[in-house]
Symmetry: C2
Subunit: 158 residues, 2 copies
C-alpha cells in the first residue's frame, strides 16, 4: 500500500470514530494513532460529554492510549490521523509526545491551532514541530460536523 | 481572609504539590483548583514520568479532577493556581473549562503559553479568556525548577 492509500485507509478509521461520536451526541471528531510500522496503536473519538471532561478530545485520548500501550511518554515515529484540524491543546500535546506526523481532514478556522489561531508548530517556543499535512476526506469530515451542529441548532439532538 | 491572603495560602498548597513532584523525580510544577466559594476542588502535580503520559501536567490533572468532582465539563467561577506559567496545552484546557481565573507564580519564557509563545488568551480564536494574574511566590517556584534541572544536569537525580 502506498502512502496515499495508507493515509486514506487510516483516515477512514478516524471518520468511523467521528461517526460513533455523532451517534453518541458528541461533537464528531475521530482520531487514530499509528506506530512507526503503520500498526494502529489507538483509536478514539471525542468524549467530552460522556466523561464530562473538557480535555477529552479525540486526539488527547488517542495520544494517551498510545503512550499507555507503549509505556512511553514520547512516541517518535508515530503519526496522528484526525478528522478535524487539532486545537491548540491537542497540537501542543502532539508536540510533547514527539509525534512525527499530524494528518488532518477538515481545516478549522474557528478553533484550529495548527493552520489557524496560535499556529502551535510555527511558534518559536515550540520545541518539537510535527510534520503537518492536510489529508483526505476534508469534505466528508466537514459535512459530518456541519450536519451535527445543524441538527443541534434545530433541537433534533444527534 | 482578603484576596491577597487567599491567593498566597492557595499558592502555598500548589508549591507543596510542586515539592512532592520534585521528590518523585517529576518536573516540579503543582496546581490547585478552587471553586467559586474558595473550596479546594483538586490538587495535583506533574505526573508525566510516573504515568508515562505527555499530557499529565499538573494543570490538566487538576482540571480533570475538578470536572469529575463537579460532574461538569465547564467550571465557571473556578480558579486555577499553578506554580509555573501554563503551557499552550494547559491554557487551552483552562479556556475550554471556562475557568474564571488563572493565577501562576513563575513566568516561563521558554515554554509558557499565556504571557509567552502563542499567548493563548490573546488569540482572536480564543472563545473564553480566563483572567490571568501573576501571583505570589514567583521566586520560590522558579528556584524550585532551577534546582531540579541543575540537579538533573549534574546527574544527581531529584
Amino acid at each position: 500500500m502506498d502512502r496515499a492509500d495508507f493515509d486514506a485507509a487510516t483516515m477512514r478509521l478516524a471518520l468511523a470514530e467521528a461517526e460513533a461520536a455523532a451517534r453518541a451526541g458528541e461533537v464528531p471528531v475521530g482520531a487514530v494513532l499509528v506506530g512507526p510500522d503503520g500498526a494502529v496503536l489507538a483509536r478514539a473519538h471525542n468524549l467530552v460529554e460522556a466523561r464530562r471532561d473538557p480535555t477529552a478530545h479525540a486526539e488527547m485520548l488517542a495520544i494517551r492510549e498510545a503512550a499507555a500501550q507503549l509505556g512511553a511518554k514520547r512516541l517518535p515515529g508515530c503519526a496522528l490521523y484526525v478528522t478535524l484540524e487539532p486545537c491548540a491543546m491537542c497540537a501542543t500535546a502532539a508536540s510533547f509526545a514527539r509525534l512525527s506526523r499530524v494528518v488532518f481532514a477538515a481545516p478549522d478556522p474557528k478553533g484550529g491551532g495548527v493552520l489557524h489561531g496560535p499556529r502551535i508548530f510555527a511558534q518559536p517556543t515550540c520545541h518539537w514541530r510535527c510534520e503537518v499535512e492536510q489529508g483526505p476526506f476534508a469534505e466528508e469530515a466537514g459535512e459530518s460536523l456541519r450536519s451535527f451542529f445543524r441538527a443541534r441548532r434545530e433541537g433534533g439532538g444527534a
